[in-house]
């Protein structure tokens, strides 16, 4: 299997604080990787390094065999990196459909008229079709989360980054979202997913990465990782 993403010895500091400390790992094409770690471990920063919103101090980021360390976020989107935000950031003045249309058109560099069928399919997959003409500002939390997912999908990603997309949802809502993500993964999309809701995460991912103080302290099979002493210590008090 070829690797879609490789981080080699990537470090990033904010002032004296080292938020990403010599992180190296690869994600094979088609895999779903979960990232866990306590608050402040540097998970979202890691995402921003992958998407290009932040440039690393040292190290290299390789995407589909190409060194993208200095490539701006926008160009990485066009290379096939889609992301959802931890706090949903819909374009509130636009309808749900328009949110997807702008992502599909600009994320893939296609004419607006040619994206309709794809957007409808994604809306269907993400159970948002009945909200297609609703302004995004009027959506419930679950639908906002779904829209985050749908909009990221509309950019036509080969690599999908999900940032705590299950947070704040009820048990039932979470289940529905997990089913949706599973469906997308089954279509062959590579997924990297940061999540505190562990049962949602482990229902989808094949590999787990544990981050603490900016360092990778565990990477491997989810069952093995969750059984390790170090991880259990970090997660003591947090639902396992």
């Amino acid at each position: 299997m070829t690797d879609i993403l490789t981080l080699s010895d990537v470090s990033k500091s904010f002032g004296a604080l080292k938020v990403t400390d010599s992180v190296s790992f690869s994600v094979p094409k088609g895999q779903a990787l979960g990232i866990i770690g306590p608050n402040g471990a540097g998970k979202s920063t890691l995402f921003n390094l992958i998407t290009g919103n932040i440039a690393p101090d040292t190290g290299r980021v390789t995407l589909m065999g190409r060194d993208v360390t200095r490539l701006p976020a926008m160009d990485r989107v066009r290379m096939g990196v889609g992301r959802s935000f931890q706090i949903p950031q819909p374009f509130e003045g636009l309808t749900v459909y328009e949110n997807l249309a702008v992502a599909a058109s600009f994320g893939q560099g296609r004419a607006e008229a040619s994206v309709t069928a794809d957007c409808v399919q994604i809306l269907q997959d993400c159970e948002l079709l009945h909200r297609a003409n609703t302004p995004a500002g009027a959506l419930s939390l679950l639908d906002r989360k779904r829209l985050e997912l749908a909009r990221a999908m509309a950019t036509g990603p080969d690599l999908l980054l999900l940032d705590e997309i299950a947070g704040g949802l009820t048990e039932g809502e979470c289940k529905a979202l997990v089913a949706t993500i599973k469906g997308l993964h089954a279509k062959g999309i590579t997924i990297i997913w940061i999540e505190h809701v562990l049962h949602a995460l482990t229902a989808v991912v094949e590999r787990l990465l544990v981050l603490d103080f900016g360092r990778v302290i565990g990477l491997g099979n989810p069952d093995t990782i969750m059984a390790s002493k170090e991880v259990r210590e970090i997660y003591l008090g947090i639902e396992v």
């Binding site: 989107v77 374009f91 509130e92 003045g93 459909y97 328009e98 600009f106 893939q108 003409n133």
Partner: protein, 351 residues
């Protein structure tokens, strides 16, 4: 049925027909309207165009500029320079105004785009003041006291002779008619261009950048480039309007041409009153503004106080302006830009 996307509504079609009729009436108006009505319409049309352009910047682009007077002023002065220094016909010198404004907009954007929100607003204002002070040093164009278009330049403006024969009017009235027609053309062109832009995929990108620039970048929209484009287009068009206004008045001074009250405060008032972020807003706003100005013209400072109070009241009780109020009640959209997905089977069997 295949899912399709449309922006078409019945109100939109009716608007298109009405707009064509209005344009035809507007073109024919000088044949029977009084000179003072033509002058008033010139004022309304130029303010409407400025308001549409500011609305494009602030309402769609999220760029709240308080320095648009820089582009009115530089546009007007470039036209004056063309006439006085190079002997160009005033009407033919109007494009110089657009060009000069475009050139000024490049360094303005370069500096102002480093700022955001209120700082951006103040930054643009400062740049406009600096431009005014620099222009006031230009002795050939009257320095700080200003100057007038020379008699020989205004006496044989291109097209005026033809209008004199056509309507059998005096030269000054013919000049007003020419300026009015140009203002009508500029207003129609501006509104049509903005409407076309919003219906294009760039319109979606613009709305995305306005709502959330970071998220827009994350779906492949180049927020920076879009803001640059909007700023430059609005500046160039504003420069054209500035040049046209001063072809009509034929007298210029730095204080008048770079007036923050006339070219930005009133314009913001028009947009806020009418409804920001919609094409209908400035159209309604300029009519309200004109009515207020006519009613309160004799009350001096009270006029400005009243405008301020009305603006505050509208912001408090109808934050989306008068058009927002009407549109919320009736669902009416004269210039529909929203893409609606049709031909899909929704939950509950609705289509």
């Amino acid at each position: 049925m295949q899912p399709t996307v449309t922006t078409r509504t019945r109100a939109g079609t009716i608007t298109a027909v009405l707009a064509l009729i209005l344009i035809a009436v507007g073109l024919a108006l000088p044949a029977f309207a009084s000179r003072s009505l033509i002058q008033d319409l010139f004022f309304i049309l130029t303010m409407l165009t400025l308001a549409q352009l500011w609305n494009l910047l602030a309402g769609y682009g999220g760029l709240v500029s308080v320095g648009q007077q820089a582009f009115v002023g530089i546009g007007a002065y470039a036209m004056f320079a063309g006439v006085i220094l190079w002997g160009i016909d005033p009407v033919l010198a109007i494009p110089l105004g657009g060009l000069a404004a475009l050139l000024l907009a490049i360094p303005t954007a370069f500096f102002a785009f480093r700022l955001a929100g209120a700082y951006f607003a103040i930054g643009t204002w400062v740049i406009a003041e600096v431009t005014r002070l620099l222009i006031a040093q230009w002795k050939a164009l009257g320095g700080g006291t200003g100057t007038s278009l020379p008699r020989e330049a205004t006496s044989d403006i291109i097209g005026v002779e033809a209008i004199r024969t056509l309507f059998d009017v005096r030269e000054a009235a013919a000049r007003d008619i020419l300026a009015y027609w140009l203002a009508l053309a500029l207003a129609v062109l501006t509104i049509a261009a903005i409407y076309a832009l919003l219906r294009n995929r760039l319109g979606l990108a613009l709305a995305a950048v306005r709502d959330n620039a970071e998220a827009a970048n994350s779906v492949g929209v180049d927020a920076r480039r879009i803001r640059w484009a909007v700023f430059l287009i609005a500046a160039a068009m504003t420069g054209l309007v500035g040049a046209l206004i001063y072809v009509q008045t034929a007298r210029i001074s730095p204080d008048a041409a770079f007036s923050v009250t006339d070219w930005t405060a009133y314009v913001i008032f028009i947009v806020v009153i009418g409804g920001i972020g919609r094409i209908e807003g400035p159209i309604l706003g300029v009519l309200v503004f004109y009515a207020l100005q006519t009613l309160l013209a004799d009350y001096g400072a009270w006029y400005l106080l009243t405008l301020g109070l009305i603006a505050i009241a509208v912001m408090l009780f109808a934050p989306r302006g008068l058009w927002g109020l009407i549109s919320d009640r009736t669902g009416l959209q004269l210039f529909p830009v929203q893409r609606r997905l049709t031909g899909i089977t929704m939950k509950g069997g609705k289509t």
